[in-house]
């Protein structure tokens, strides 16, 4: 009777272990970790709304900017408050997304659950309880190992369930925040501010400088200033390219999270794993291009 019961228990335990041990969330971890890495690149672009203000509004002489206030009699002191507020907003989007994705990365990390019963097993004196329970030391050790596997796997299931809950609950707001962030980075920062600096302000200022000082500049000075103009254009082209890489990464992060939400009932299915890994690979590729661009700009 006792043996029958023990066999029944053993079969159930084996079933439980085989059922639960398939909880592998490495693909979610990789996706979230890579996404966090991509978000951190915002600071590496090297340009911001505030930097624009400091360069073009405050240190006008570095871009040969004539004093427009004298022509229009309008005071235009160097005030970067509005630009600082815009940067604060971008930082807010970035930090909220980073905190959330860091949480997802931690929760899906296989190292998050690694229970150890060694001390507990060591503490149990098998000789002391031999009277009440017929159990040997090797059996006790096996029991400890089994307890470790079961509790780790059960907790992994709990982790998976929580992850599913959180992804499902956050997806709409995650989509709203990342879309808003993307809009600000792409439409307002890249397509307005950077485009203005690159395609309007620089040619406007340099052309005015050239025409105004045409008679005063030697051919050598003209050549030097023209080179300076081209170098500045190249720098802004790089800022734009770096920003485009960040925008691409944001699109991939949004789509990847959306996919996780759609398939949150099958987080450990192989085809989903493959798909999410593809998003991670694309984000990583964008990060590689970002680094390459940054390096080429520094050289």
């Amino acid at each position: 009777m006792f043996n029958k019961r023990r066999n029944y228990l053993a079969v159930n335990l084996i079933l439980l272990v085989s059922f639960t041990s398939c909880v592998n969330l490495q693909h979610v971890n990789k996706f979230a970790t890579t996404s966090v890495e991509a978000l951190a690149r915002q600071d590496d672009i090297g340009y911001s709304f505030t930097q624009h203000c400091l360069d073009f509004e405050c240190k006008k002489d570095i871009y040969h900017i004539p004093d427009v206030t004298k022509d229009f009699g309008k005071a235009a002191p160097c005030n970067c408050d509005t630009f600082k507020k815009a940067d604060d907003a971008l930082d807010l989007f970035n930090s909220v997304l980073t905190a959330y994705l860091t949480g997802l990365a931690n929760l899906s990390d296989s190292k998050a659950v690694n229970y150890n019963f060694d001390n507990l097993i060591k503490a149990v004196d098998v000789d002391e309880i031999a009277g009440q329970l017929k159990i040997t030391k090797p059996e006790m050790t096996s029991l400890g190992n089994l307890a470790t596997i079961i509790s780790n796997d059960l907790m992994n299931l709990y982790r998976k369930r929580k992850l599913k809950e959180i992804i499902k609950k956050s997806n709409t707001d995650f989509g709203i925040v990342i879309s808003a962030y993307r809009k600000c980075v792409n439409d307002f920062f890249k397509n307005v501010l950077l485009d203005n600096d690159l395609n309007i302000t620089l040619p406007n200022l340099y052309s005015t400088y050239f025409i105004t000082n045409a008679a005063l500049l030697s051919p050598l000075e003209k050549a030097r200033i023209y080179e300076e103009y081209l170098a500045r254009r190249a720098t802004f082209e790089t800022y734009k390219a770096l920003t485009a890489r960040l925008v691409f990464a944001l699109d991939e992060i949004k789509d990847g999270h959306n996919k996780l939400n759609e398939e949150s009932d099958h987080l450990t299915r192989n085809d989903l794993k493959q798909l999410i890994n593809e998003y991670s690979t694309d984000i990583r590729a964008a990060l590689g291009e970002f680094r390459k661009l940054k390096k080429s700009n520094q050289n």
């Binding site: 709304f49 624009h52 509004e57 427009v68 022509d71 229009f72 235009a76 509005t82 630009f83 507020k85 815009a86 907003a89 989007f93 909220v96 905190a99 959330y100 860091t102 949480g103 997802l104 931690n106 929760l107 998050a112 659950v113 229970y115 150890n116 001390n119 507990l120 060591k122 503490a123 149990v124 004196d125 002391e128 509790s151 907790m155 709990y158 982790r159 929580k162 609950k169 956050s170 709409t172 707001d173 709203i176 808003a180 809009k183 600000c184 439409d187 307002f188 920062f189 307005v192 501010l193 485009d195 203005n196 395609n199 309007i200 406007n204 200022l205 052309s207 005015t208 025409i211 105004t212």
Partner: protein, 134 residues
Amino acid sequence: MSVLTSDQLGQLAKDYQKIASELLKFKLENANNMSITEFQDLGSRITLIVHNSNILAAMATYQTAEDISDSLNTLTDSADKIDATLKKIQKVQDIIDIAAMAINVGTNILSGNLKGTVQSIGEFAKKIGVAVKI
């Protein structure tokens, strides 16, 4: 608080950008037909228009953050919930460790090991966060 939405501000920024861009094109194409003063004057106007475009883009950016403050708060709550879950997971190991320590205390008391009892109670108290002076 802005009376315009972030989209309207963004659209205005693009409209100013377009005007500045057209004026610059005109300025460069007609450089030979203008006096230096006219050229400078047009350049200054372009600078002011493009400045407005930049300011509007900055305003559109922070207005966007204000528009979606609810979603930002929800996502922050989610991040906090994940932290709470991770703390719960960590607590399980603490419970396992506490169980081991409780058994150690019991074993030491039963075997009459005074030094061991004192030491294991100290460790036990430390683990469960209680300051015990023996």
